[in-house]
C-alpha cells in the first residue's frame, strides 16, 4: 500500500508533504517551531485559516519591516501579519476553540509518538529540567486531527516512533498521523500503518524502529 521514494525528505519537504494533506478551508494551528514551516506551503488564498493560541484566527505570514507590530505576534512570539477576515479573542475563548474540538488540524513537533498515538513533546523527563508546557496539552487533545512533524530518528539513531512512550506524555491517543523525513505513518487504535516511505525500505524501517507496520 505504501510508496517508497529514494531520498529522505528535508524539513521543508516534510512541511510541504503536510500542507498537501490539509484540506481547503481547514482551520489549522501550527504550534510553535518547526511546524510553522507548513505555513509557507499553504495557499492561504485557498481558504486555509490559521489559528494562533494567543487569540487570533486568520494569522498571516511573518511580518517584516514596517509591518512589525509588537501587539501582533504568534504563539512563538514572532511578529506576524493579519489576513482579511481575521478576528481576535481572549485566551479563554481561544482555548475553548481548541479544547472544544473546533480546529480541523493541529501540527506539533514531538520527542516521541507511540504506535497508539500517545504524544510526548513537552518534557524530556530530565530531573533538573524546568517543566514548561504552554499550550501543548490543550492542542494535543483539542484538534479533530493532530499531525506530528519530526525526524524519525533521534541523534543517536533511536526511533522516535515507539511502542510505548518513555518520555512524559503530553496527551494520550491523540495523534493521527506522523510526518517524518523517512515516511508518513498513521498511528492510533489500529496500530501503525505506513502511508509512504522515503530513503528507507520497509525492511529497513522494521529493523530500525523495531515495530511491525500494517
Amino acid at each position: 500500500m505504501s510508496e517508497t521514494h529514494d531520498a529522505s525528505l528535508t524539513r521543508d519537504q516534510i512541511a510541504a508533504r503536510i500542507a498537501a494533506d490539509i484540506p481547503e478551508g481547514a482551520f489549522v494551528n501550527l504550534g510553535i517551531g518547526q511546524p510553522t514551516l507548513v505555513a509557507d506551503h499553504l495557499d492561504l488564498e485557498r481558504g486555509v485559516v490559521l489559528h494562533t493560541e494567543n487569540g487570533m484566527l486568520g494569522m498571516g505570514r511573518a511580518a517584516t519591516g514596517d509591518e512589525i507590530d509588537p501587539d501582533l505576534i504568534n504563539a512563538g512570539k514572532i511578529p506576524v501579519v493579519e489576513t482579511p477576515g481575521a478576528s481576535y479573542f481572549h485566551h479563554a475563548d481561544s482555548f475553548a476553540m481548541m479544547r472544544g474540538g473546533h480546529l480541523d488540524v493541529c501540527v506539533l513537533g514531538a520527542f516521541q509518538v507511540s504506535v497508539a498515538g500517545d504524544l510526548a513533546n513537552w518534557h524530556t523527563g530530565a530531573p533538573d529540567a524546568i517543566p514548561a508546557v504552554g499550550g501543548a496539552m490543550d492542542l494535543a487533545i483539542g484538534a479533530k486531527q493532530v499531525f506530528v512533524m519530526m525526524t524519525l530518528f533521534d541523534k543517536q539513531g533511536g526511533s522516535k516512533l515507539v511502542p510505548e512512550l518513555t518520555y512524559p506524555a503530553t496527551g494520550l491517543g491523540c495523534v493521527s498521523r506522523v510526518y517524518t523525513d523517512h515516511g508518513t505513518f498513521e498511528v492510533g487504535a489500529d496500530g501503525p500503518r505506513v502511508v509512504d516511505l522515503h530513503g528507507l525500505t520497509a525492511d529497513e524501517l522494521a529493523e530500525r524502529t523495531g515495530l511491525a507496520f500494517a
Binding site: G47, V49, H51, G85, H102
Partner: protein, 224 residues
C-alpha cells in the same frame, strides 16, 4: 468553511439552509423573546417538517409565530428552556397540559453555561445556581471550599439556528444590541450552525477587534 446561501427568493434560501435537518435532531434556537429569534429559519424548519425534535430556546414560543408554530405542528418532542410560561405561550401550554411535549426547565444562566461548556470541551461544571431547589433534584451536589454546588453537564446541538446582524463572506458575525443574547454561545455548541443575517459584506469589511462570532463556528449564512 462557510457556505453563503444567496437567492433572489428568500423563502427558498431559508428552505435550503435547513433542508438537511433530520427527524430527531437537537436544534438550538437563538433569541430572547423576539430579539435575536431567527423567525424565518424557524418557519423554514416548520415547512421542512422534520419531527421528533428537541428544541433548546430560552422560551417555549410566543403568540402565533416562529417557535410557537413549530410546537403547534407537533414537530417538537421536547423543549429545554428556562422560561416556558408566558402570557402568550398558549400553544406550548396546551401541548404541555395534554402531555404531548416534554419539558426540561433549566435556570437561564445554567442553560447558557451548559452550551458554553459543550462548545469549550468542558465535561461538566459545578454551579452554585439552583442548589437546594427542585431544579437540583437528581443532580450530584458537592461542597467545594465551603460552598455548595451542583454538577451540570454540557448541552450540545446537532444544529443551531441563529440570527446575527452582519456576516462577512467567511462567516464572521456581528450582532445588534440585546439581539446578541444566546447566538454566540449556541454557535459554538452545535455541529452545524446556520445563521440568518440582514447583510453579507466582503471579507475584510468587519473590524477584527469587533467580531463576536469567529467564522470557525459558522457553517451556513443566509441573507433573509
Amino acid at each position: 468553511m462557510t457556505d453563503v446561501i444567496e437567492r433572489s427568493d428568500a423563502t427558498a434560501a431559508a428552505d435550503e439552509a435547513v433542508a438537511d435537518i433530520p427527524d430527531g435532531a437537537t436544534v438550538l434556537i437563538g433569541g430572547f423573546g423576539s430579539a435575536g429569534q431567527p423567525v424565518e429559519l424557524i418557519d423554514a424548519l416548520r415547512r421542512h417538517g422534520a419531527g421528533d425534535l428537541t428544541v433548546v430556546n430560552n422560551n417555549a414560543g410566543n403568540g402565533d409565530h416562529g417557535l410557537a408554530l413549530l410546537l403547534r405542528e407537533g414537530l417538537v418532542r421536547k423543549m429545554i428552556c428556562s422560561f416556558p410560561r408566558q402570557s402568550d405561550s398558549w400553544h406550548f401550554d396546551e401541548l404541555y397540559r395534554a402531555g404531548r411535549v416534554e419539558l426540561e426547565v433549566v435556570p437561564q444562566g445554567t442553560l447558557a453555561e451548559r452550551m458554553r461548556a459543550a462548545g469549550a470541551g468542558i465535561g461538566g461544571f459545578y454551579s452554585p445556581t439552583g442548589v437546594g431547589t427542585l431544579l437540583a433534584e437528581g443532580k450530584e451536589e458537592r461542597e467545594l471550599d465551603g460552598r455548595r454546588f451542583v454538577l451540570e453537564r454540557p448541552l450540545s446541538g446537532d444544529y443551531a439556528l441563529v440570527k446575527a446582524h452582519v456576516a462577512d463572506r467567511m462567516g464572521n458575525l456581528v450582532y445588534r444590541r440585546t439581539a446578541r443574547n444566546f447566538g454566540p454561545v449556541m454557535a459554538t455548541a452545535a455541529t452545524t450552525t446556520v445563521v440568518q443575517v440582514s447583510r453579507v459584506v466582503p471579507t475584510g469589511d468587519l473590524d477584527p477587534e469587533a467580531v463576536v462570532t469567529p467564522s470557525i463556528y459558522v457553517d451556513r449564512v443566509v441573507v433573509l
